[in-house]
Structure formats: structure tokens, C-alpha cells
């Protein structure tokens, strides 16, 4: 019974730690992956003046040349040169501030996954007439549907307020309502015409990589290849974590929460094991007294108790690991539906269905931490056993 308690405590500790981390990591990684895929890309290049005051005159010099060179990097999946303007979007019923992104559809689909999130209509193409793709949240706000007109009002290159009508050809929905309500996608050539900019002008070069983990390395490469432009403050290169420091902070915060939660689990586990092992030694006072009387010295007595805990904790940890693997795999494939919380989560940029994710190394680290905690927790009860006097222990009648 006592052994079963320790094994169960270890297993539950393992499962609690791993499954919670799987959920938090899945949630965080999904948010980051979605942000990179739909909103930020891995890397963006802009004119530093454009970042300061958002005036459309601050363009990237030689953007086509830059884009072409970066497209040749083997780590790069896609490069898209964009125009980016702050505007008012309005319908007959309502209006609101938006960012209008003028994109080349053929390039944009290699950088952004918005085309995969179209829920009504279709994505932009070259054949349509002044098309626009908007988010479901914005469509709801402006009460617009497919084939309706959306009026975009902005300041052109001369500073004059100008308007243009676009026809909604597609409505998308991502897991981030904030993004959906604030962004409108149009063709670059249409936006250029509206603003008076040259068709090849760009405010932003968005870069998507084949592997998100390679972001920093590619940034270094770009900074090296375009040293003069960067040193001359004509362009600035930023990774997603610089574009959205809030997202980066969120990732770090979730990692901290996961760590704290693990510590709480380990502390609870330690208490459970200390209590169980103290009871175990008290119950076996006579047996331990007899062993000491026969000739089991302190070193061997201590080792006996510690080894018992090691075997039990190993069994429990392995059992916990097996169950954790099953749970994590199940929810990694099928997702964990947060149901009623879904709408609320979307409003802050999170998906309602979480696909668990655990780094392989974390399983081993958790096992080691759990076993280590069990062993450390057993030291005090083991030292207590060493203090037993055989003459009195043999006659103990407590249990």
C-alpha cells in the first residue's frame, strides 16, 4: 500500500508536470506560429523613418533588389514586398481605423497563410477588379459581405485625403480577432494607384522562413549582406520578437508559469514522499531494528532506504511517463477544445483548440527532477532511521 502511494504520487507528479507543460507550450507555440504565419512573418524590413511616423513617403530603397537577393537564401520560404497604409475603412453603416496592406498575391501566399483562412469567397488574384480581403470581425463591424464595397480613405503622397472603393472578394478568420478587425488586404498595384506611389515601391519586405528557429541566423545574414543600407539608416531589419515585444514577453511569461507550476508540483510531491517514508520507517521500526542488530551498518541502512525510494520513484516516473506520452500524443493529434472559452481566447489572439506540444528533452528533464525530488525527500526519513537504537526498536509496539 505504502509503495503504491509513492508510485502513484510520482506518476501523478510526472503527468501533472508534463501535461500542463504540453498544454502551455502548445498554447504558446500555436500563438507564435499563428502570429508568424498570419500577422508578422519571421522577419520584416522597413525604412526606419516609416516605423517612426508611418508616412507613406518613407520607402525601402531598391526593395525589388533586396527582395530578390533574400529570395535566394536557402532558409527562406517566401518574400513579399508590401505597401502599408493607415486608413479609415467604412461602409454605409460604420467605419473604423485599419491598416491596408497592398500585396502581390503570388508572392504573398508564400509568406502569409491568410489565404488558408478564407471562410467566404476567395483570396486576391490578378484577374479580379479592385479586390479586397477583410477579416470576419471587420466584416461584422462594418456589416459587409462578399461583393459589397468597402471605402478606404487615406492620405496620398501629397498629403491629400483620398478615397477608393474596393470590392470584397474574400472574408478570412484567424485565431486573432484583434488582427482580423484591423487589417485589410488589397493588391499592391491598386493601393499604389490610390496613393500615387510607384508600382514597385514598398514600405515593408516580409520574409517567411522554412523553420521558425532559424530567424536569428537569417537576420544576421541579412544584416551582413546589406551592411551599408543598415549603417546608412536606410533600412532596419527586425525579427518577429522585435516587431511584437508583447508576444515575446508572453512567451517568456508562459515559460515562467510552466516553471513555477512544475516547482509547485515538485514541492507537493516532496511533502507526500517525506510523509510516506516517515510512516514507512515508523511502521518498520522493529524490522529495521532487527536488521541493525544483525549487522546492517549505518551506510547500508541509509542505502537500503534510499535504494527503495529510487526503485519506487523510477517505477512511478516510468508509469507517469507512459501515461503522459499517451495524453500528450492524443491531444497533439486531436487538439484540446477549450469550448466555451473559445470566443474569449480569440479576442486576445489565442486559438480555442490547443494542440499539445512537449519538447522531447522535457520528458527526461521532468523524470530526473521528479526522481531527484523523491531522493532528496527521503534523506530526512533515512537519517531518522539511522538514529534507531536496536535494543528499543526491536521492542517497538507502535504498529
Amino acid at each position: 500500500m505504502r509503495s503504491a502511494v509513492i508510485i502513484a504520487a510520482m506518476a501523478v507528479g510526472m503527468i501533472g508536470g508534463i501535461v500542463t507543460d504540453g498544454m502551455m507550450t502548445g498554447m504558446t507555440d500555436q500563438r507564435v506560429d499563428a502570429a508568424i504565419a498570419n500577422e508578422l512573418s519571421n522577419i520584416q524590413i522597413q525604412n526606419p523613418q516609416f516605423l517612426l511616423n508611418n508616412e507613406i513617403k518613407y520607402l525601402i530603397p531598391g526593395s525589388d533588389t533586396i527582395a530578390k537577393k533574400i529570395r535566394g537564401y536557402r532558409e527562406v520560404k517566401g518574400v513579399s514586398s508590401r505597401l502599408e497604409c493607415q486608413a479609415m475603412a467604412s461602409s454605409a453603416n460604420a467605419g473604423g481605423g485599419v491598416t491596408v496592406l497592398g500585396v502581390v498575391p503570388g508572392n504573398e501566399v508564400d509568406v502569409s497563410d491568410i489565404h488558408k483562412h478564407i471562410i467566404k469567397g476567395s483570396y486576391l488574384d490578378d484577374k479580379q477588379r479592385i479586390p479586397a480581403v477583410i477579416g470576419k470581425k471587420l466584416a461584422g463591424k462594418l456589416d459587409l459581405n462578399i461583393n459589397d464595397k468597402i471605402i478606404i480613405t487615406l492620405a496620398d503622397t501629397s498629403g491629400t485625403i483620398t478615397s477608393g472603393a474596393f470590392i470584397i472578394v474574400g472574408i478570412f478568420k484567424t485565431s486573432n480577432d484583434i488582427f482580423d478587425v484591423a487589417n485589410v488586404f488589397v493588391r499592391k498595384k491598386d493601393l499604389a494607384q490610390l496613393t500615387g506611389l510607384a508600382p514597385q515601391a514598398s514600405h515593408c519586405i516580409a520574409i517567411r522562413l522554412k523553420n521558425n528557429a532559424g530567424t536569428e541566423a537569417v537576420i544576421s545574414k541579412i544584416k551582413n549582406d546589406f551592411k551599408e543600407l543598415i549603417n546608412g539608416k536606410l533600412i532596419t531589419v527586425r525579427g518577429w520578437y522585435e516587431i511584437s515585444p508583447l508576444l515575446r514577453s508572453m512567451v517568456e511569461m508562459m515559460n515562467m508559469f510552466s516553471f513555477i507550476f512544475m516547482i509547485i508540483i515538485l514541492v507537493a510531491l516532496a511533502f507526500a514522499i517525506v510523509n510516506t517514508m516517515v510512516m514507512s520507517i515508523m511502521e518498520r521500526t522493529r524490522e529495521i531494528g532487527m536488521l541493525i542488530a544483525l549487522g546492517l551498518n549505518k551506510r547500508r541502512t541509509f542505502t537500503l532506504i534510499m535504494f527503495e525510494t529510487l526503485l519506487l520513484s523510477l517505477t512511478g516516473a516510468l508509469a507517469g511517463l507512459a501515461v503522459s506520452l499517451l495524453i500528450v500524443h492524443h491531444y497533439a493529434v486531436n487538439g484540446f477544445d477549450l469550448g466555451a472559452l473559445g470566443e474569449g481566447l480569440n479576442s486576445i489572439g489565442y486559438s480555442a483548440i490547443i494542440y499539445f506540444r512537449v519538447n522531447t528533452g522535457f520528458y527526461l528533464v521532468t523524470m530526473i527532477m521528479v526522481i531527484f525530488t523523491a531522493l532528496v525527500s527521503t534523506i530526512s526519513p533515512a537519517l531518522r532511521a539511522l538514529k534507531l537504537q536496536p535494543a528499543t526498536a526491536i521492542r517497538d509496539n507502535t504498529f
Binding site: R286, E287, M290, L291, I292, A293, L294, G295, L296, N297, K298, R300, Q389, P390, A391, I394
Partner: protein, 228 residues
């Protein structure tokens, strides 16, 4: 030749609170090959004396020599080691390790002594045969009767090749038949291996088998009688 020599042994429990004088100046010598019973009423000090002779407890004052070694001068670690190689124990109850078989229990002290595997197996078999439990070697304590468990305890006590065996009320929990069987085995072991046996007992049947009876009362030896 004396293998045990106790000189002016005093033992006081709870010295700082209400002192209990368990032994009040005990002197005795026990020779090799003796089959000795220490008898006395409850609280007379016989268990205390046995614990001190067995190195499970130390006297408050006085000296105890086992085979010429003053065990009072040994460190705690050396005392444990001394017990392992010189003294065998048969307790009143909870003698055996419940998860080990009779053979494994008998081998246990030899494992602690780091004796080779083949020697352990051979000796365990020999001893279990000697105590009449050859057919129960692979039984665990839960599958043995009280008397059989005590016989395994005797085999284990002798397995360490001790100078003497301490048995504290070994027959207290046994019926008449088991008691007689156990005593016969112990007497046989005493004859066969010339191992000294020292009992603390109330049991008249044990006293009847003993070659020497030391009577203790109020922590003092009041009578010491040898029988041929």
C-alpha cells in the same frame, strides 16, 4: 575459556528524569559451549543484561569483554561490525525479513559478511537441513508456522559463525510442541557446533534444558547454578 566477561555492570535508564536502575553491579563469565539460561521475574534486568552482552546496548558503567575485546570502547560502526561477525540473534518475534524465503533469510547475514555465493548457498542448505527445514527452503515467513520461523532464525543466527547466540524469550510465542522442537534443535546445534547459547527466559522448559541457570533479580545476580 571465557568468551564473555561482564565486570561490575551498571545500567541506568532515564538518568535525567526518573532514573531506573536496570542493572546494579553484575559480574559474570560465560564459557565457550555453554547452554545458559538467564532467568528472573519481569523487570529483573535479564533483557537489559542480554542486550548489553549482545552489544545492542552499552552499560552506564562497567566493562563487557567479548572474546577479549572491550566492546564498550568500540565506535558505533565497529560495534555493528563486531555483532555481525561474532554474535547471533534469535528474537522473540519479527525475526525474519518477510519478503525473503527461508533460504534467503539464512543467507542474509552471510551477504552482509560478503561471503562468496557458493559458500552462502552451501551453508544455508546445511543449516536448514540441520534444523529440519530442508523442504521449506523456498517458503516465505508468512508460509511458515511460528516454530518453523524460529528454527529459520536459529539457522540464520548460526550462519554468521558467531562466538555465541543470544536468544531473548525465543519460545514465548510458541506452543508446547514447537517449543520442544526448537529447544531440541538449539541443544543439538550447541553440541554439534559447540556454539554458546544464552537465553533470557521465563519458560521452565528452557530452564530444564539449560546447562547453567543464572538467576537475576533487581538488577543483580542472585544465583548461578551449573548442571552436569
Amino acid at each position: 575459556m571465557s568468551i564473555i566477561e561482564a565486570k561490575n555492570i551498571f545500567k541506568v535508564y532515564d538518568e535525567t528524569k526518573v532514573p531506573v536502575n536496570a542493572l546494579n553491579g553484575v559480574d559474570l563469565q560465560i564459557d565457550e559451549g555453554e547452554f545458559t539460561a538467564i532467568v528472573g521475574p519481569s523487570g529483573s534486568g535479564k533483557t537489559t543484561l542480554l542486550n548489553i552482552i549482545g552489544g545492542l546496548d552499552l552499560p552506564t558503567s562497567g566493562e563487557i569483554y567479548i572474546n577479549g575485546t572491550n566492546i564498550g570502547n568500540l565506535s558505533a560502526g565497529k560495534l555493528v561490525d563486531f555483532r555481525l561477525h561474532n554474535i547471533g540473534f534469535v528474537f522473540q518475534a519479527y525475526n525474519l525479513i518477510p519478503v525473503l524465503t527461508a533460504k534467503e533469510n539464512t543467507e542474509f547475514v552471510m551477504v552482509l559478511q560478503k561471503r562468496p555465493k557458493e559458500e552462502r548457498k552451501r551453508k544455508a542448505l546445511e543449516l536448514l537441513k540441520a534444523v529440519g527445514l530442508e523442504g521449506k527452503m523456498d517458503h516465505k515467513p508468512g508460509q511458515l508456522s511460528g516454530g518453523q520461523q524460529q528454527r529459520v532464525a536459529v539457522a540464520r543466527a548460526l550462519a554468521s559463525q558467531p562466538k555465541f547466540v543470544i536468544a531473548d524469550e525465543p519460545t514465548a510465542n510458541l506452543d508446547s510442541k514447537s517449543t520442544n522442537e526448537l529447544l531440541d534443535i538449539m541443544a543439538e546445534m550447541n553440541r554439534k557446533y559447540n556454539t554458546t547459547f544464552i537465553f533470557a527466559t521465563h519458560d521452565k522448559r528452557v530452564m530444564d534444558k539449560a546447562g547453567r541457570i543464572i538467576t537475576i533479580d533487581d538488577g543483580k545476580v542472585v544465583n548461578d547454578e551449573k548442571f552436569v
